[in-house]
Symmetry: C2
Subunit: 203 residues, 2 copies
Amino acid sequence: MAELVDAPDSKSGGATRESSSLSPGRKIIMKYCNQCGNDLEFKIPKGDNRDRYICSVCGYIQYENPKIVVGTVPMLGDQVMLCLRGIEPRINFWTLPAGFLENGESMADGAKRECEEEALITPNVQSMIAVVDVVHADQVHVFYRATINDENFGAGEESLDVKLYRLDEVPWDLIAFETVEIALKAQIEKEANDESPIYHTIQ
Amino acid sequence: MAELVDAPDSKSGGATRESSSLSPGRKIIMKYCNQCGNDLEFKIPKGDNRDRYICSVCGYIQYENPKIVVGTVPMLGDQVMLCLRGIEPRINFWTLPAGFLENGESMADGAKRECEEEALITPNVQSMIAVVDVVHADQVHVFYRATINDENFGAGEESLDVKLYRLDEVPWDLIAFETVEIALKAQIEKEANDESPIYHTIQ
């Protein structure tokens, strides 16, 4: 299983994407203040206790905080719908529909949107099934239980294929990300009426 | 109950703090590229479907995504520990220890750190008890069940006072934020062994 070095959706939240091998908390080196255009410094602001990007002229502080990735485990009966990734990272590996939460949407709505974009379906999104801190990537991945009504799905722009797999036939060696594996295992191991998510931390 | 217009912790994640009345998704108007210092435009990038800040010269995209606020409901027997806010917003109102999740930490560790900072205690952090989308603020608030062992707590830098309240004596009219109220009600209403969080969306 590959280490997760990025979020499943390449389209947004890219600030963590381009240099994921850098140390957590400073993935992108920011040089200029987005308010006044002058040089940024990386130091502890007065009254704070950790390094931040601070403008050397206007004093504006540019905070960086973890991002949320939302996804679903879309079930049709005893089969799960997986998407074959058409983009890097992990092109040609199978994933659950998931991506960065956007401003102005709830987590469940974001999870539903990712299904629409990646698999052309609108699932019935239910309770959370897996919450995974991905500490080295400064991300939290949240997966929801979901159901779909039929096989009217298809490959969205970022997918090469979309297929149903029985839970005892998941292609584990070809799963794109560790958090996707965790969510799939939660779906397999948890009772259908269990609304408590599994909680996991990947350092 | 006041509408939540900010996260409980003023110290970090301030990009959403200074202009919370602006429309979601564009709380802070960014003017300059943090990579090359040239002018930013606000438009839909090629292959995307929503407005982003894009550098007019180098093409760098500065993504903005929701932030995570983590907190606890710290219990000593049948009493909950509340902090009297010493900072705006909602100075002199009672709150649960909570604040922005930082890069490089898990949500449970962040919730514990906020307790250390605001109430000088290290609680035993347990399962999630409340997850609240605060859509208009581009935030998700996550509260954990927690226990403390004794009354060795005190007011941290951002608190004026820290006190224990029996759950049937919570000062509801003086609670700082709606999400804190939701978390306290979850603590009251849920069975002690119920590990499924309540899930709520504030538009």
